[in-house]
Structures are given as structure tokens and as C-alpha cells.
């Protein structure tokens, strides 16, 4: 019975989470387009519904009803699999993101997280690394030179920034003393880590943006060089899955940033979930702002930034943090 | 039609040479003298006589200055327009002639007496300006002398 109930609760949580994610993702698209337009003194979507609010729905319908084309020369199975890998891994990352402190429901303590893994952080890393398979395989399976180049770029970029990303979070773990995201959030009940670890924060945000292939790190797509890079050959909802994956990824990024550095759900006055949502929203806004402002890096600049700047700096940061903890007795 | 006498004469002449072709200009000249100019009819007859095609003869006839493929007057006046005659004022002579005969260079008078044609140096530079009337040279010419010449030619016909 208990087991069943837990399952039901879990399913509900997953459903709510997924529903929320997808809805937010689609409206994130709308938001991005609208905001980007304003940053560039344009109007943005304004035909479907008022302020173009129905645009995401229109897009979804369009993508769902479009003919899906698998190139003759493509490796059909992998070609079909790749978008799913991208979307699924992005969504699965949310499984360990705590939305708030446990609440009590029907006399039970229900954690506001799908599953509070004690190695949540590693789980996140694992999934985000897995996501790159979608990109690389999609690019390869298309059997198109642009797509292949995009896929390779994606893989290379991911490998390069995975390191910096991981290293930037070592001080956080050191400070929190746990891999569990809930624990990390709890550790920031007082001071959010952004204050303690500004360098880590910066490295994390940059690396995370590179992970999510967003401007200024969108080299795998690079419209003007590679068509659309790894998803050149995709159409219809398979293309939509890549798209979805990207926007879910933005949310993941926002959530992780909030969890790791902005104190998660902690905040005065408002309910914790709202705080978290707010923080995610702010991170997303900033990312859109960045997109609307910065040009794409050159490939060598991208690599140089990752290997020559971020990784050394994060290493130094770890040492400094370690020393600080050791000698200042901070815990 | 070609008179039998001329025809047999030409045939005999052609028969005398090794290659009928070499007689082409002579035959053309003979027929031109007969017809006044080297007409299409003459061309066909000459081709017959020489065993050449009309075109082969036309290739020659249209090349040379003194073969007239178009009708000309009784007297063909060739005015030298080369350097020495030009220096000595052939332009005035030409202008006068055109005026007097009422034709342009290359034209034939309405009465069919005169055709006016330019010609390059005729080798009478010591007698410039010179003209050639029916292959007879006249020069050095003044406008008065030219008038007298035209008058004489006219009188001979009337």
C-alpha cells in the first residue's frame, strides 16, 4: 500500500514536473523570441494570439504535423534515437532538482524532489554528459557533412567544458559536504554560495552555457557556417525534440545555478517553490540577454577559453577553497 | 547574246593555253568590252567558255578595279584620288565633275554616257591631277580642261 502510494505520488510528481517543464519550455521559447526581439528593437511573435502568446502552441502543432524526413543515406535507427537522447537526458536531470523543503501531505512527508539521490550532483553530470550523445550521434547518423561537423563540434565542446563544469562545483561540494542537491541547498540556508564562491559561479555559468550550446557557444549549430549543424537534416517533431531539449536544458541550467549558487528555494516571504522558480527565471532571462548581446566565439577562442582559462582557474579555486577550509576552519 | 565570232575567237584563244583559267581576265575583259560591263549574263557565258563556275569567275571579277559588275555608262571616268593628285587638288575636280554630271561618285548619268569612279594612283603623277577616261589618260587637268573634255565626249555622241 505504502509502496503503491509512493509510486502514485512519484508518478504525480513526475507528471507535474514534466508538464511544468514542457509548458515552461514552450513558453521559454516564446519568451526568448519576444525578449530577443525587443533587445534588437523588433516586435517578435505577435500574430498568434495576443502578444503572440499562442505561438508556442502553433509551433508545436506545426512541428507535430510536419513530414518527418529521414535522409536516404542516414542511419535510420540512430537518426531517430538521437533527438530522444537529447530531450530525455535534459528532462531526467530535473529528477534530482529539489523544488523546496519537504512538505507534508496526507500525513506523510513528501520531498519536493522526485528523488533525492545522495549523488545527485554526479547524476546531473552523468546525464548532461549523456546528452552529448544525442548531438554527436544525430550529427553522425545524418550522413551529412554539416551535421557531422556540428556533431563533432558538439562532442568536443562538451568534453572541454564538462571538466570546467565539474571542477567549478568541487568547491561547492566541499562547502556543502554532500553530493545531494537537497543537502547543497540546505547548506546555503544562510549565505548563498555565490557570495562565497563567485569564481566558481562564473565558471559554472559559462561552462553550463557552453554545455547547453547556447550563444555565444552555439558552434555545433552555427547557422551561418553549418546550416544548422547537427540537426541540419532533422525536421518535424524530431527537430522539435532537439529544440525541446535545449529549452529544458535552459531550465535545468537555471535550476542548477539556483541550487548550487543562489540558495535554491531559500528566500524570505515567498514560498520556496516560487523562490526557486524566480531564480530559474532570472537565470533564463540573463541567458537570453547574453544571447541578444554577444556574438558567437570562434572555435579556437572557445577551446582556449575552456582549457586555458576556465580549467586552470577552477583548479586554483579548488586549492584556494581547500586551503581556506583547512586553515580558516570554515565548515 | 554573244556574237558567234567573238565566241569562237575566245574559244580558240582558250584552247591555245594550257590552263583555261589563265585566260579568265582576258575573257572577262573581252565580254566586258562587248556588254559594256561584266553582267550576270556575261558571267554565265564566261563561265561556260572557261569551264569555271560562275562563282569562281565572280571571285575574280569582284576583286579587280577595272572589271565592272554593275552597269556603267558609255564613258567611264576614273578620277585618281591618290596622294599626288590629291595634293594637286583632285577634290575640286571631283566636286566639279559631280556637279557638272549631276551624279555622285560611283553613279552613272541619266543619259547613260558617263560613270564616275575613283581610282587609286594610275601612274601619271607627273601629270597630276590626272583622270582616266576609257583607259585614256588626261592630265594635268584644270576645271576648264575638264569641261572641254566632257563637252567633246558629249559631242561625239550627239
Amino acid at each position: 500500500m505504502n509502496y503503491l502510494l509512493g509510486l502514485i505520488v512519484l508518478l504525480i510528481k513526475i507528471a507535474v514536473m514534466l508538464g511544468g517543464l514542457l509548458l515552461v519550455a514552450s513558453y521559454l521559447v516564446w519568451l526568448e523570441r519576444k525578449l530577443l526581439a525587443r533587445l534588437q528593437i523588433r516586435l517578435g511573435p505577435n500574430r498568434a494570439g495576443i502578444f503572440g502568446l499562442l505561438q508556442p502552441i502553433a509551433d508545436a502543432i506545426k512541428l507535430l504535423t510536419k513530414e518527418e524526413i529521414v535522409p536516404t543515406a542516414a542511419d535510420g535507427f540512430i537518426f531517430r534515437l538521437a533527438p530522444a537522447v537529447v530531450a530525455v537526458t535534459a528532462m531526467m536531470m530535473f529528477a534530482v532538482v529539489p523544488l523546496g523543503p519537504d512538505i507534508r501531505l496526507f500525513g506523510r512527508s513528501v520531498p519536493m524532489v522526485i528523488t533525492d539521490l545522495n549523488v545527485g550532483l554526479l547524476f546531473v553530470f552523468a546525464l548532461s554528459s549523456l546528452g552529448v550523445y544525442g548531438v554527436a550521434l544525430g550529427g553522425w547518423a545524418s550522413n551529412s557533412k554539416f551535421a557531422l561537423l556540428g556533431g563533432i563540434r558538439g562532442a568536443a565542446q562538451m568534453i572541454s567544458y564538462e571538466l570546467a563544469l565539474g571542477l567549478s562545483l568541487v568547491p561547492v561540494v566541499m562547502l556543502a559536504g554532500s553530493f545531494s542537491l537537497t543537502a547543497i541547498v540546505d547548506a546555503q540556508s544562510g549565505v548563498p554560495f555565490i557570495v562565497l564562491q563567485p569564481v566558481s559561479f562564473a565558471i559554472f555559468v559559462i561552462s553550463a552555457m557552453a554545455e547547453s550550446k547556447r550563444i555565444p557557444f552555439d558552434l555545433p549549430e552555427a547557422e551561418n557556417e553549418l546550416g544548422a549543424g547537427f540537426h541540419t537534416e532533422y525536421s518535424g517533431m524530431r527537430f522539435g525534440l532537439f529544440f525541446l531539449g535545449e529549452y529544458v536544458h535552459i531550465q535545468v541550467l537555471g535550476a542548477l545555478t539556483a541550487v548550487f549558487f543562489l540558495g535554491g528555494w531559500h528566500g524570505p516571504w515567498l514560498p520556496p517553490v516560487v523562490w526557486l522558480m524566480l531564480k530559474i527565471f532570472i537565470v533564463a532571462l540573463i541567458m537570453i540577454w547574453i544571447r541578444g548581446t554577444l556574438p558567437r566565439l570562434r572555435y579556437d577562442q572557445l577551446m582556449a577559453l575552456g582549457w586555458k582559462v576556465l580549467i586552470p582557474v577552477s583548479l586554483i579555486n579548488i586549492v584556494v577553497t581547500g586551503a581556506f577550509i583547512q586553515f580558516a576552519g570554515f565548515s | 547574246m554573244l556574237p558567234e565570232k567573238l565566241k569562237s575567237e575566245l574559244t580558240a584563244q582558250i584552247a591555245r593555253v594550257d590552263h583555261p583559267r589563265e585566260m579568265a581576265i582576258d575573257v572577262i575583259n573581252a565580254l566586258q568590252d562587248h556588254y559594256g560591263y561584266f553582267s550576270d549574263e556575261a558571267l554565265a557565258q564566261a563561265a561556260d567558255l572557261l569551264g569555271m563556275s560562275p562563282l569562281e569567275l565572280d571571285e575574280l571579277a569582284t576583286f579587280y578595279t577595272f572589271i565592272y559588275r554593275e552597269p556603267v555608262g558609255k564613258h567611264v571616268i576614273h578620277v585618281c584620288d591618290s596622294l599626288i593628285c590629291w595634293m594637286e587638288g583632285d577634290e575640286n575636280l571631283v566636286a566639279h565633275l559631280c556637279d557638272r554630271l549631276g551624279i555622285q561618285m560611283g553613279g552613272t548619268t541619266a543619259d547613260g554616257l558617263f560613270t564616275l569612279l575613283p581610282v587609286c594612283c594610275i601612274g601619271y603623277c607627273d601629270r597630276a591631277p590626272a583622270i582616266l577616261v576609257d583607259r585614256q589618260v588626261h592630265g594635268p587637268l584644270t576645271i576648264d580642261a575638264l569641261d572641254r573634255l566632257i563637252d567633246t565626249l558629249r559631242e561625239n555622241h550627239s
Partner: protein, 425 residues
């Protein structure tokens, strides 16, 4: 006046008629032919011609002796001798004067030249304007034949030689030897670049020797009097013989004069021709017909022979001296010459066929006030390129234009800057 110079070709010239056969024989005519047929062998005629340094008088100045010896001993028969009386170079009329004076000298010269190469057929290619000369020649050939000087078994020897007169239809290009041979064969008179050379494969593919009237006329005298005598006739050591100079233009007594090669231009104009007309001043002259360049006052005292003119980057050509005075517009004169060449180009090769009308257009524009300074380099380049045309016609045709730009560029510029001809104002 002419008496002061040794006279060879025009010695017996009568003012109004030809030297008849009997008169010619009295003056020693046909003596050379008789001696050659009875006493000398062919080789000696050839040797004397070669030694005499007789240069072709038709314009190119090619040594006649060499040309005669290029007919191979074992070449097939019949062989032909062509006499070029197609004198169409503007300003040139020496052959006309000569033919109206000494037809027999030519006949004898042809017989001698033909004998030296064992030719049996002689053809005189004559321009239609010289109809009277053609008639004279035909008549005199008949007379000579009657006397046994032509035809079968000449002067009792076993040598046969027959001459016919071929009237041209009249085109400048027919003076070019290969074109002339084409014309004689009833083909279009386009030049034909050697090889094969005419002396090898000429008329109907047989050996053919072609020479100018004057060149052929010199032969009897050389044969009779020897090479050294001929060489001594000239005033300069490199030159040999006398030359018929045709002087025309702004001189008091234009005409044809037999003068020794190497005579000074000034002497021709002043002594022979009675100086410039109406006290005009000498501006320039063409020393040898339309296809030579201008000689300016700088060269007023130049020695008129083949070598001296070559040194002055000019040519003796046919020896037709055309004199211009200071009233004469050199651009207009050159335009007239270019007009001539544009009209007479045979149309075979591109640079000549299209280049001359182009040059005429440019010169016409300069003369008529539509000139531009840019035309001058254009004309210069084009003249340079016209040298690469098929035959010698175009290089001759651009000689006057090139020397116009070399010697009278100021005058051309005056036309361009003044928007018209300064001589017309």
C-alpha cells in the same frame, strides 16, 4: 640637265615615241642577247648579274643575281619568267615612261633573264591603266618575233622563248609577286607566304622567275658592259647602277629621271626638277612610293641609294620621290595614303584587312577635329602589330603613319589640340 648624268635605260628616249627596233639595234641593242646565245654560257650571265649587285627595282631591293640562281638546275620544265609591269605604287610611273620609250630593251632583258634560267615562257603582267604600253609591247613583241629575236630558235640558236602580255584587272596587291602569280593563274590574287618560293614552285607549280621591268631592262647592259661598269655607274660604293627616279609633287619639273644611285636628294630636287614650286620650302618627301616613310628636311641631303636609306630607317622602294611643301598637311597626306591601303588591302589577313580601316578612321578623326590624345598610342600599337600581317603590304602601308608619328608628332598634336586641321584654317 640630264646630260650631266650617265644615261643607260633612257639614253635613247624620244620625247613623243618609242625607240623602234631598228633604232634600238643601231644603238647596240640585242647585241648582248646575240653574244649570250652565241658566245657566253648561262652561268656567265648569272655570274655577271650576281657581281653587278643589281638590286630589284620593284621596291623590295632583293638582289636579282641571287634570285636568278635560286632556280635549281634540275627544276622541272617549262619554266616561266614573269615581268612585273604592274606598277601600282602611288607616285611611281617609271615603268610607264620606260615602256613608252624602250620596249625592246625590256624584251631583250627578258630574253636574257629567261635564257639564264632556261625559261620558255615570258609573261608581262601589266596594269590596265597602261593599256597603251600594253599595245606597244604586243606590237613590238610581234616585230621582234618577226626578226627572229623571239619565238622559236632565237637568232638561230636552239633556244625558244615566247612573251605574252597579260593585262591585269587592276589591284595594287597584284604587284606582290605571289599574288601576281595567283592572278596569272586565274585565281584570286591573294599573296601566298613562301615556302614554296616562286623560283621553286611558281606558276602552275613550276619554277618561275619574277622581276620588275627596270630590273630586267638593266640586264642587257650588265651583260654587255660587265659588272664593274655597272657598279661604277653609282655614286656611292655600296650601290650599283642607275635608277629611274620619278619625282612628283611640289617641284617645278616633276617627271622621271634616270640618275645614278647615291645621288643626293637635294640634287634631285634642285638640279633635276628645278627646285621647289613657287618658292615653297621643302617639308618632307616620300623617297620611294607610298609604302616608305617620310624623309624630313633633316635628310634633305641624303644619298639616295638602298643602303643609305636603310640607315635612315627608310627604304628606297621604287624610287618615287613625292615632295611635300610647307603648305601640305602631313596628317591629311597620311590619311590619303591610309585610305589607299585600306582600299587596296586584299582582305586575306586580319590585321591588314581590319587595321587599315581602323587607322583610317582614327586619322580621319584627327584630321577632322575629333582627335584625342589617346589615339596616338593606339595608332602606334596598331602600326606595330600591322607588321605581323601576312605579306609586306601592311608594313609598307604603316610606314607613312609610323614616320608621321615619329617626325610630325607636333603637327598631329596640333590637330588634336586645335580640334581640326591647322592648314585648313
Amino acid at each position: 640637265m640630264t646630260a650631266t648624268y650617265p644615261q643607260v635605260l633612257l639614253k635613247n628616249r624620244k620625247p613623243d615615241r618609242i625607240t623602234t627596233l631598228s633604232e634600238y639595234r643601231e644603238a647596240g641593242g640585242y647585241e648582248a642577247l646575240r653574244r649570250v646565245l652565241t658566245e657566253m654560257d648561262r652561268q656567265e650571265v648569272k655570274t655577271r648579274l650576281a657581281d653587278a649587285l643589281l638590286l630589284g627595282r620593284g621596291g623590295a631591293g632583293f638582289p636579282a643575281g641571287i634570285k636568278v640562281s635560286t632556280v635549281a638546275e634540275d627544276a622541272p620544265f617549262p619554266r616561266y619568267l614573269v615581268c612585273n609591269a604592274d606598277e601600282m605604287e602611288p607616285g611611281t610611273f617609271k615603268d610607264r615612261v620606260f615602256l613608252h620609250a624602250e620596249p625592246h630593251m625590256l624584251i631583250e632583258g627578258m630574253a636574257l633573264a629567261a635564257y639564264s634560267i632556261r625559261a620558255s615562257h615570258g609573261i608581262i603582267f601589266i596594269r590596265p591603266e597602261y593599256e597603251s604600253a600594253a599595245k606597244i609591247l604586243e606590237r613590238e613583241i610581234g616585230i621582234a618575233r618577226g626578226e627572229g629575236l623571239l619565238g622559236e630558235r632565237i637568232l638561230g640558236s636552239d633556244y625558244d622563248f615566247e612573251i605574252v602580255v597579260h593585262r591585269s584587272g587592276g589591284r595594287y596587291i597584284c604587284g606582290e609577286v605571289t599574288a601576281q602569280l595567283n592572278a596569272l593563274q586565274g585565281r584570286r590574287p591573294n599573296p601566298k607566304q613562301p615556302p614554296p618560293y616562286a623560283t621553286d614552285k611558281g606558276l602552275w607549280g613550276l619554277p618561275t622567275l619574277a622581276n620588275n621591268v627596270e630590273t630586267l631592262a638593266c640586264i642587257p647592259h650588265i651583260v654587255k658592259n660587265g659588272a664593274q661598269w655597272f657598279k661604277d655607274l653609282a655614286l656611292t660604293p655600296e650601290a650599283a647602277g642607275t635608277k629611274l627616279f620619278c619625282v612628283s609633287g611640289k617641284v617645278n619639273r616633276p617627271g622621271c629621271y634616270e640618275l645614278p644611285l647615291g645621288i643626293k636628294l637635294s640634287e634631285i630636287i634642285e638640279t633635276c626638277c628645278g627646285g621647289m614650286k613657287d618658292g615653297a620650302t621643302f617639308k618632307a618627301c616620300l623617297p620611294g612610293g607610298a609604302s616608305t616613310g617620310y624623309l624630313t628636311a633633316d635628310h634633305y641631303h641624303i644619298e639616295m641609294d638602298f643602303d643609305s636609306l636603310k640607315k635612315a630607317r627608310n627604304r628606297l622602294g621604287t624610287g618615287a620621290v613625292m615632295v611635300f611643301d610647307h603648305h601640305c598637311c602631313m596628317v591629311a597626306a597620311t590619311l590619303n595614303l591610309t585610305e589607299f591601303f585600306a582600299r587596296e588591302s586584299c582582305g586575306w589577313c586580319t590585321p591588314c584587312r581590319e587595321g587599315f580601316p581602323y587607322l583610317r578612321d582614327l586619322l580621319w578623326r584627327i584630321e577632322n577635329g575629333q582627335g584625342e590624345a589617346g589615339f596616338i598610342p593606339m595608332i602606334k600599337t596598331m602600326c606595330r602589330h600591322l607588321w605581323k600581317s601576312y605579306c609586306a603590304f601592311a608594313p609598307g602601308g604603316v610606314a607613312s603613319i609610323e614616320s608621321l608619328l615619329m617626325n610630325f608628332e607636333d603637327e598631329v598634336m596640333a590637330h588634336i589640340e586645335g580640334k581640326g586641321c591647322p592648314f585648313k584654317k
